[in-house]
Point group: C2
Chain length 113, copies 2
Amino acid sequence: MLNQQPNLDLMFQALADPTRRAMIDRLSRGPASVSELAKPFAMSLPAVVQHLQALENSGLVTSQKVGRVRTVQIQPDTLSLAEQWINDRRTAWSRRLDRLGDFLAETADEPQP
Amino acid sequence: MLNQQPNLDLMFQALADPTRRAMIDRLSRGPASVSELAKPFAMSLPAVVQHLQALENSGLVTSQKVGRVRTVQIQPDTLSLAEQWINDRRTAWSRRLDRLGDFLAETADEPQP
């Protein structure tokens, strides 16, 4: 399940669920086993595993099984891709507003006919 | 449809679709009418309106109807909330790595018994 190609559809889909966001939040404080991740949630282990699968398919987390324990960890580079996509659009908007501001300031400075 | 409360589930859900991301991308370059937004897509107007509804419900865009034209614009503050949620988790992870690095450096400096 390692080396998934990052995919914005799957990333944002993975982030659209409160349980999966809580898992990402927990993992931002360090790697965790599947049972540790399951603990705060009143849901069956298969349901937890399904959420983890969605996170892993999106590339936001990876997991490794050593012996009988599967350890999950966050992939900050994939999180960064999702963040960057939003940031690029937000800054494009700000730059546009700045240019509009400059244009209005320049026109205000021009002598009236 | 104005003054929707921002909701991370709806925001990330809205961003999980390539058509809706293309609309956000277009709107980052300035407001647009519904028909302008529809132009690049080979889909029916009702399908376009449904995507816009999802964007508007998420708070990522707002629209205003003047006469017969509905103009859509991006809401950078809502985009910022989604971006910030990701950023907070990513930086929590980096800080943890930094602390781990400091700890390892300190232990390496200690004289061997």
